[in-house]
């Protein structure tokens, strides 16, 4: 009873401490969100210096988007994401398994971890600019390939759909596989060593151990990685934007949804940008909900990793 009284008189401090967060969120996220949704129902754009609208048009923007190239841009985004994600998850699983397997005598573990995580911190736009310079027709990569005699003519990497998409995929792969490896490693280290010991006694080899013990045990964190990566993929912007100078060349086959949104924002077509944002918002909400369910589960994926990192200190 005494305790309850104590909490009561301190309650106001709780409100005061969380106030800045919620005020900031209200002003910089909630008002913009409401505004975005509102103008998605209006015809509101600028042509030249003349401003058209805002006129209420109902769902016209939404329908117009469905008939525009939006769906093919959504397809592009998915393809670009897949090209980066599939090798990323395969390599990350392999590396995480090796890093945690004590029976392998791996040298320089810390060095490799530092190196593979490095590209994650690099400015995506500068990285894309670097790739643009390196892979241009008279760039160093072509020069290297020709000096080794792999090709006589310089290859126009960014002239083909396949080339551009592969470059974007390669960049995304390089930027994220280290991060995923380290996440999965923590998950594997969270598995009780007893289980591995038992499986060893039963005589299962590395391959069996991986498929029958490791993989099922880290399924929650795998699912978590997948969903957060989809959300990241949905936001893909910097790399293709800089690599193709916002054009999504060739023939807009590397144009992503956010690049499309950006072009509407730059041309001040608020109605269309609003409707596109609402589509993105709906998709992200579903994904957010899945993440919410995962992080609030009893055996949430990150809690195990968290405990491990803290040296098993009690929560």
């Amino acid at each position: 009873m005494n305790k309850k009284k104590l909490h009561l008189c301190y309650a106001k401090w709780g409100y005061i401490f969380i106030l800045p967060f919620f005020v900031t969120f209200f002003i910089f996220s909630l008002i913009p969100l409401v505004d975005t949704v509102r103008y998605s129902f209006y015809e509101y754009y600028r042509s030249g210096i003349k401003e058209v609208g805002p006129n209420f048009v109902g769902l016209k923007n939404y329908l117009e988007l469905l008939h525009s190239d939006m769906l093919s841009y959504a397809g592009n985004t998915m393809v670009l994401w897949l090209i980066g994600f599939v090798p990323q998850i395969v390599i990350a699983l392999l590396l995480a398994n090796w890093f945690t397997d004590l029976r392998l005598r791996l040298r320089g573990k810390q060095f490799f971890k530092v190196v593979i995580y490095l590209p994650n911190l690099i400015m995506a736009s500068a990285f894309a600019m670097l790739f643009f310079a390196l892979f241009s027709t008279n760039g160093p990569i072509n020069s290297i390939l020709m000096s080794f005699g792999f090709t006589n003519e310089p290859i126009d990497f960014m002239g083909t759909t396949f080339g551009t998409r592969s470059l974007v995929g390669l960049m995304n792969f390089l930027m994220w596989f280290g991060n995923t490896t380290i996440m999965l490693m923590a998950a594997i280290m969270g598995i009780s060593p007893d289980i591995f010991e038992a499986c060893e006694l039963d005589g299962c080899g590395s391959v069996k151990r991986f498929f029958y013990i490791t993989l099922p045990m880290i399924r929650p964190i795998l699912a978590y990685t997948l969903i957060t990566s989809i959300i990241g993929g949905l936001q893909m912007f910097d790399v293709p934007q800089i690599l193709t100078n916002g054009q999504g060349n060739p023939d807009r086959t590397s144009m992503t949804l956010i690049m499309f949104l950006n072009s509407h924002l730059k041309s001040r077509n608020y109605g269309m940008a609003g409707a596109l944002s609402v589509y993105l918002f709906l998709v992200s909400s579903v994904l957010c909900f899945i993440v919410y369910r995962m992080t609030n589960n009893e055996d949430r994926p990150s809690s195990k990793a968290l405990k491990k990192m803290k040296g098993g200190s009690d929560s």
């Binding site: 301190y10 409100y15 401490f17 969380i18 967060f21 919620f22 002003i27 910089f28 913009p32 969100l33 975005t36 103008y39 590396l95 090796w98 392998l104 005598r105 791996l106 490799f112 593979i116 995580y117 490095l118 911190l121 400015m123 995506a124 736009s125 500068a126 600019m129 670097l130 790739f131 290297i144 000096s147 390089l174 991060n179 380290i182 959300i231 990241g232 936001q235 912007f237 910097d238 800089i242 100078n245 949104l261 950006n262 924002l265 940008a273 609003g274 944002s277 609402v278 992200s284 957010c288 909900f289 993440v291 992080t295 609030n296 994926p301 990150s302 990793a305 968290l306 405990k307 990192m309």
Partner: protein
Amino acid sequence: MKRTTHKLGETVLAHIVLIVLSFLCLFFFYILLVNATRSHADLQKGFSWIPGNYFFENLKSVANDGSFPMFKGIVNSLIVSTCSAALCTYFSALTAYGLYAYQFRFKKLAFTFIMAILVMPTQVTAMGFLRLMTNIGLYDSLLPLIIPSIASPAVFYFMYSYLKSSLPLSLVEAARIDGSSEFLTFNRIVIPIMKPAMAVQAIFTFVGSWNNYFVPALIIQSKDKMTVPILIATLRGADYMNFDMGKIYMMITVAIVPIIIVYLLLSKYIIAGITLGGVKE
């Protein structure tokens, strides 16, 4: 007997794969650094594995270029990233402490709300954000890049998890009995305990802000307020073929290298922090 040889094979294979991947990660940066030290004329002749001696010449021409004020951009980026990191870590810790240490009516609702928006992309509100900033006169200012970092759900979640595992509430009670005010308790007792978590998150927020391109590109208009990523984008949009290539490589180097140096110095903490973070894009 057979078993050990099998493991040996796998060890060798693991090393080969790791070396190939490390090579892939470092290769592009090596070319970047080599090319940044060579002159435009040298670069035209083709690629060389050996660095040239044009490093300072290139650096000087980057510094003196008025149309791409790279060093002004670095100063802007430093201001934005430092302020964001400071605001974000302090207020996330404050919010986490408020929700962890106090009992109040809307506590659960507030927590649920933050968890629900944990991974919501900022891009979906960009249009309203741009309009709001234009209307309140913050268009083309650095403030809209800094202030919103006060509300960072992912950093909050990290801080909250950390508090839960390392701050016993009895410590707060003890401070109260000693007559410490609530704010003082937070600043003098809770913050020191949270230092490791705050350091890790400060690094990640700094890097995220340093690399951020989408929002600054919408908000910033004038050249002297541009941050580094926007300058890189302008560089890409300009008539690129007529440029001194040595200078271009040097500009990319200048944008990337500060982060690499910080990373190499703090890599131990950063690597340990990734899994603690749990929630990142």
